[in-house]
């Protein structure tokens, strides 16, 4: 009986600690930390078209549309793995504006990559110095964002997209 009285507070304390530890760590993946920009307006940017250096896209012009923003590079192997899925997204959600950013890549290599894999993007912007990616908080390719009609970021994924992610997390946004 005496022993039980002594041990009970200790057990309660451990239980409280475990509860809070589980509460803090639940659903948190250190490889995919939550974006600081989620539910915030997309950062201001201006980017030149990969295929036409006279054409520039401004972040303001994206408002009024749902936009998928994908950072890719020809040297990024996981980008190739997800690339074909953008054609599926394009087919399933035709109203979605798909914006690709060639990130820290040789422009010739980016064009070659899009020739080989196909070009699912409505606009391919250049981000040679990585400044746009920095403003988006990108730290590893590929990264994908979706913005709503108000220009707010409503989805972010680090790493290659999968069919499951598209079905469970992207399709439900529309």
């Amino acid at each position: 009986m005496n022993r039980a009285i002594l041990i009970t507070p200790l057990i309660v304390l451990i239980a409280i600690c475990l509860f809070f530890l589980i509460f803090i760590l639940l659903g948190k993946n250190p490889n995919n930390p939550p974006s600081a920009l989620l539910n915030k307006n997309l950062p201001d940017f201006s980017s030149i078209n990969l295929y036409n250096n006279q054409e520039t896209l401004l972040s303001d012009s994206l408002e009024g549309n749902y936009t998928l923003i994908n950072f890719f590079a020809s040297w990024c192997t996981p980008c190739r793995a997800e690339h074909h899925l953008f054609f599926e997204i394009q087919k399933e959600i035709p109203e979605l504006f798909i914006l690709g950013f060639s990130h820290k890549d040789d422009l010739g290599d980016s064009k070659k990559y899009l020739e080989e894999e196909g070009n699912p993007y409505s606009f391919v912007g250049i981000d040679s110095d990585g400044k746009i990616a920095f403003d988006f908080g990108v730290f590893g390719l590929p990264e994908t964002f979706i913005t709503n009609k108000n220009g707010e970021i409503i989805f972010k994924h680090t790493g290659p997209l999968t069919k499951k992610i598209i079905k469970d997390e992207i399709a439900i946004l529309f």
């Binding site: 009285i5 507070p9 304390l13 930390p33 974006s35 990585g130 920095f134 908080g137 730290f139």
Partner: protein, 124 residues
Amino acid sequence: MKLQFFFKIFFFLFFSFSLCANENLDYKVKKLTLELRCMTCQNQSVYDSDSNYSKDIKIFVIKKFKEGLNEKEIKKILTERYGEYILFKPYFNSKNLFLWLFPFILVILSIIILLKNSKKTRTK
């Protein structure tokens, strides 16, 4: 002769100051980047990592210090983009209050329990 002496003193002071300024900058960059998490590595600071991401952050930090921003301002810019996850030491604010106070709550609770138990055992 006097002019030569004057130039010698001038160059000595000029290089000493620039050396000190560089050392000061290196120290500030090291101090800050040691507090920043390399987001693409396993538990490594930006300072210790050679990844492309860390190199970019180091360049950014040096640039911002040279522009005259202080540590707090640079941290703010980085957390606005990468979230507080980039900081090894989270901010002491209402959101993280529990995280900061929990160890102290735990110690106080333990002391209370210990005192209560020792009192009980003494009275018996």
